[in-house]
Subunit: 198 residues, 2 copies
């Protein structure tokens, strides 16, 4: 004898969440039914609402409830700077650091030929259009310093170089508060190679 | 600038899932919106449906879509045996093992005074009623061999002893295929103490 059908369906549906397997899905379903029905109702409503209202901003490709998102519509930002990031989480971190006043383009991914993710999947055509609007003077590449992030930055850099836009890459080096004794060799080597004049 | 409100609400709502913190909730929300909108719609619908249709079986307290669940209504089961388990997952494991043909009572928890979970929270009054229906001859205690599961079994055992019902506890010992060299000392000691005549 198994769980009732609607409970089995919930367990299966929960497995669409990343990192959730059969056992965790069951644990989550039991928890919701047994201990947090209000939370389950809230989650159900939130899912329905988000699917109805969230789409991609026409300018930066980030999630937005409006055709152009609040950040892109803001008059406070420097439209001559365009920062390219992989994900909305990266954008959020940059905003939190309060170090950048330009605009963004969110790739929603990174080049990854092994996973079949090519230039089209990360919207590079739209990114190029955006960078060629005549107002953007500099594109700041802020993809991750992973193999895939580096390859993505390199690919975008090459594309933009031929179009006469200034392209820059965020700096690598020791973290703030970092101690030379404890940093990994790769980071230390990069910090020496990419040293800057005082 | 933050995520759109409906996206923020989804991230907050996802945190009602056990083991999901702020970072995973954000990752899950982005994944659903970006890569699996169909999965998100399915999950939303499954949550709504499960809340409408799933309640507790009047007899065994397990999740059920009907007043009395399929297992309790089955004529194939031995109504003289009542097995007490902590969770529906435990019941499912016992059913999978195909070793038991009686009925169940699901506590939906265990005694845990430190967490404020007392006899009422695990429905012991209903369990007693169930065991005193005149048909049940033996109650098999299949709570976990954790401190809390043991305390729960002990408590229920004491209660039933005074009511003239036979009470048994599932066996402890080496697992099937277990090697004495590799088993933990506590389990080995129990296996010796609880040895049975051949």
């Amino acid at each position: 004898m198994k769980n009732p059908p609607s409970l089995e369906e919930l367990i299966t549906a929960l497995r669409c969440l990343p990192g959730v397997g059969a056992k965790s899905a069951q644990r989550m379903a039991f928890h919701l039914l047994q201990r947090d029905r209000a939370g389950a109702a809230r989650l159900g409503a939130a899912l329905t609402r988000v699917l109805e209202s969230v789409r991609h901003c026409e300018r930066c490709n980030n999630f937005s409830e409006t055709a152009v998102c609040a950040l892109c519509s803001s008059a406070q930002r420097d439209a001559a700077l365009l920062c390219v990031v992989e994900t909305p989480a990266d954008l959020a971190m940059l905003e939190q650091a309060q170090c950048y006043r330009g605009l963004y383009f969110v790739l929603m991914g990174r080049l990854s030929p092994l996973d079949g993710i090519g230039p089209k999947d990360i919207h590079l055509d739209r990114m190029l259009q955006r960078a060629a609007d005549g107002v953007v003077r500099e594109v700041v590449l802020a993809t991750n310093f992973t193999n895939e992030g580096e390859a993505t930055a390199h690919f975008i850099g090459e594309m933009l170089a031929s179009r006469g836009v200034t392209v820059s890459r965020i700096a690598r080096g020791l973290p703030v508060g970092g101690e030379i004794e404890h940093v990994d060799a790769g980071t230390l080597a990069r910090a020496v190679i990419e040293r800057r004049a005082l």
